[in-house]
Each structure stands twice: as C-alpha cells, then as structure tokens.
C-alpha cells in the first residue's frame, strides 16, 4: 500500500469540523484550571487551615495519576456521586443529561487545575515580598494587594509556563475520544477507518495539532511582550 498524498488533504479538510471541539475542551479546561489553580495556590501559600492541606492533597493526587484516569474516574464516578443526592433533593436533573463533552470539561479542568496550581504558585513566589508590603503600607487590605499588585505580576511571570500548560492541554484533549467525544483525533480515526487510510489521516491530525500549537506559541509570545513591557524599561503609551 502506497502513501496517498492527496488523501492527506482530504483528511485535513474533514478534520477541520472537529477543531471547535478540541479548542473548546482546551479553552474550558485551561480557563477553569487557571481559576482552580490560582485559588488552590493561594490556599497553599497562605496555609489556610484545612483548605490548604486539602489543596496540597488535590495537587499531589492529580499530578500523581494519569489524565486518562481522571477522565474515566469522572465519567464513571460522577453519576454515582451526584445522582443519589439529586434524586433525594427531588430535582429532575440526572447525570445522564450531561453531554459527553461535559465529562471532558470537568475532568480536564480538574487535571489542569493541579498543574496550573504549581505554575501560579511559582509565579506568586517570584514576586518580591516588598510588593505586598508596599501595597499594605499604602493602606490596602491583603486581598486588594493580592488582586491589584501581586497577582498581575505573578501572572506576567507565569506566561511562559502557562503557555506550556495550555499546549499540553491542547494535545491531551485528544483523550476525550475515550468517552466518545469527536475531537480532531477521533475524527481522524473515523476518516481513517472509513477510507482504510490510517497513516494519512493521522498525519493530517498531526499537521493540524502542530499548526495550532505554533499559533498558541505566537499568541503567548505576543501576550508576554505586551504584559511584561514594564520589565524592559518601557514607557507606557
């Protein structure tokens, strides 16, 4: 069997319809993960009783288990966890109503949250203590100083690591096919098996992922240039 270069193009066009799904999983899990990661990072840094320990346990457990396992645990565990209480509360809502992609959103947000928690923690700790002190000294509350002074600088310092994690989530979102979500990889499988052209289809998927990764890298570089202007002796325009 010979390589059919023309089919790569055919497959590529067919894969485009799955791009929104892959992007949605990446975006939702990265954004929810960032929120979750920021909260857990703060809980750990400030050693909040109980919640701080719980956050540490969450981070070590999630980072210590594969992402596919998280997806399967959520897929099979969530119904067990919520259907009983929902029925007990007399609500007409059941886990069966969650679309398949919903399980991917939830599971991957949890995964991303643990990894991003470490990224954000490193970012916060990279900000000089004097910044917080200066905020407090002008009369801000700890919360205000965190929101307005420390976190913006921590996020700016984290951009390279954040973009790494987002790229990781983009690639790992292909695991969603295990719960029958049709993302780029699943679409490639469909195209491949209906046409008996596996290599070409997966090559097309690879090219597509690579292109999206390059775009993300460019975006990250742009964001980094924009928000760390202050580090390079800039003048605001």
């Amino acid at each position: 069997m010979n390589l059919d270069p023309g089919f790569i193009w055919t497959a590529l066009r067919s894969l485009l319809q799955a791009v929104p799904t892959t992007l949605a999983i990446t975006a939702v899990s990265s954004l929810c993960g960032l929120l979750l990661g920021t909260v857990t990072a703060l809980l750990r840094i400030y050693r909040v009783p109980l919640l701080g320990q719980a956050s540490s346990a969450y981070v070590t457990f999630i980072r210590g288990t594969p992402m596919l396992t998280h997806l399967l645990l959520i897929y099979f565990g969530l119904p067990l966890l919520i259907d009983g209480p929902l029925a007990g509360a007399g609500l007409p809502v059941r886990s069966a109503m969650i679309p398949m992609i919903g399980f991917a959103y939830i599971a991957f947000s949890i995964t991303a949250g643990a990894y991003l928690s470490e990224v954000v923690r490193a970012g916060i700790q990279a900000v000089d203590r004097g910044q917080m002190e200066a905020g407090l000294a002008v009369g801000m509350t700890t919360g205000q100083a965190l929101r307005r002074i420390v976190l913006p600088q921590a996020m700016a310092a984290s951009v390279p690591n954040l973009s790494n994690s987002v790229i990781g989530m983009l690639h790992a979102s292909s695991l969603a096919f295990t719960v029958s979500v049709v993302d780029i990889n699943a679409q490639a499988q469909i195209v491949a098996s209906t046409n008996w052209r596996y290599f070409e289809a997966y090559l097309a998927a690879a090219i597509l992922y690579w292109g999206m990764t390059l775009a993300l890298e460019r975006l990250a570089a742009l964001v980094e240039r924009r928000i760390s202007l202050y580090n390079r002796g800039g003048v605001s325009s």
Binding site: A137, V138, G139
Partner: protein, 250 residues
C-alpha cells in the same frame, strides 16, 4: 501626635525590641540611629504593623491600638494614617510612576480617577519627576524611583511618613537628590520618622534623635545634644565610628 509605649517584639526567644517608648509631636522629624541589628528598622515596621508587635500601645493622632489585641480592621485603620518609604523603593513594578502614586488614592481612598490623576501628577512634579509620569520603575534610576516612592507616601496625606533607610540602596551620587526632597517636605511640617545612616542629614533635619542598640533606646535628645555631647558611652562610640575623622594637615 504619635506615641509608642512599651513596644516589644520577639522572634522566637530573641527579643528584638525590649520595650520602646517614644513620643513624636506633629511636624517633628525623628531620626533613629544605631548599629545594624539594633532593632531600628523593626521598630519602624512595627509602627505600621508590617511587623506585629507582641506588646505595647501605639497612638497615632486620635487613634490608639493595643498591639496584643489588634484586629484586622484596627491595623487597616492604622495603616491608612501612615505611609512608608522603603530602602528598596518597592514601587509597584507593573505600574507607571503616575499609577504608583494614584494606586492608593483609587483603591484605599476611593478618590475619583481624574482627581487622583491630578493630585498624583502634582506630587510627582513636586519631587521633580513631572516629566516621568508614564515611565515604569525599571526605566528610572534609583534616585528617581525613591522620589516616586516619596510622592506615593505623600499622596494619602498620612499623619506620619516612615522612612526606612531611604538612601542606603542608592549610588552615592544619587543620595543628594533624595535627601533634598526629604528635606523640602520636612520643612513643610510633615511628621516623619527616619531610620538612617546619613549623620549629617540627621543632624540637619531632625528635631529629635533616638539612638538604639540591642533593642532599647540608649539615648535620646536634640541633634545638638546628641552629636556634640552624647551622654552615653555607647552613643559616643557609635558616632565616633560613623562620623568621619577630621582631616589633619601636617
């Protein structure tokens, strides 16, 4: 008026401040001198609770706080009455000079943006940086950064400004411009407490000098008393070591 009584601070078993009393009248400039490790910076940081004193009582204007029982709200109230100028400037790195001065006005005093901008620009002009409003700290020299720090401290109309070795991190040729600004605002009657190693500056600007060593105030007095005729042996030794020897021509 600012009154400190019986301020104590411990780190583990080491008592860094062993019961400090001091009174600062409105408009006074108090210079705090002493060897490193004497507790002078800790004392200053206790006044705005960046370090929490273990014991003692602190009064600023009409507000008194019992250090042991201070609640969060008390500490925020206290901090709104004080301002601090740091040794390492600690300007908000992601904000321009103008935004650095505005930040407290916007967030803490809830001043309307236009008004905050106008006041901040005026203050920066006053410290000689009217042309650097939009520069980020990384684009400013140490002396310029510290002058922004002083403008930021002035912005909130504090009852006292705390200076923590404001010129110690500066290149020698930049010390003068910062001291000149501090001298100007001292003449305007703003109450200040300054931890410094600049003896001639302290002698010139201060109305009261505290000499600290090993967590206690060893001696206090007017600059004239302290510099020309110190009573305590420890003060004398310290001043002798710091003050340059006169130059003899043979």
């Amino acid at each position: 008026m600012i009154k400190l009584s019986g301020i104590r601070k411990k780190y583990g078993h080491h008592e860094v401040l062993q019961g400090i009393d001091a009174t600062v009248q409105k408009g006074e400039v108090v210079a705090i001198l002493g060897p490193s490790g004497s507790g002078k910076t800790t004392l200053l940081r206790c006044v705005n609770f960046l370090e929490r004193p273990n014991e003692g009582e602190l009064t600023i204007g009409d507000f008194t706080i019992q250090c042991k029982r201070a609640r969060k709200q008390d500490i925020y109230t206290l901090r709104r009455k004080t301002a601090m100028v740091f040794q390492q400037y600690n300007l908000f790195r992601h904000k321009t000079a103008l935004e650095n001065v505005m930040e407290g006005l916007l967030v803490v005093q809830k001043m309307p943006r236009d008004q905050a901008r106008e006041r901040s620009a005026q203050l920066l002009d006053k410290v000689g940086l009217g042309k650097k409003l939009d520069a980020y700290p990384s684009a400013l020299s140490g002396g310029q950064q510290q002058r922004v720090g002083i403008a930021r401290a002035l912005a909130g109309n504090p009852e006292v400004i705390l200076f923590d070795e404001p010129t110690s991190a500066l290149d020698p040729e930049l010390v003068g411009e910062v001291l000149a600004v501090i001298r100007t605002i001292a003449r305007e009657g703003i109450t200040m407490m300054i931890v410094t190693h600049e003896m001639s500056f302290a002698q010139d600007v201060a109305t009261q000098v505290l000499f600290m060593d090993e967590g206690v105030v060893v001696e206090r007095g007017t600059p004239r008393e302290m510099f020309s005729d110190p009573k305590e042996e420890r003060t004398r030794r310290f001043l002798k070591r710091i003050a340059p020897e006169p130059i003899y021509h043979i």
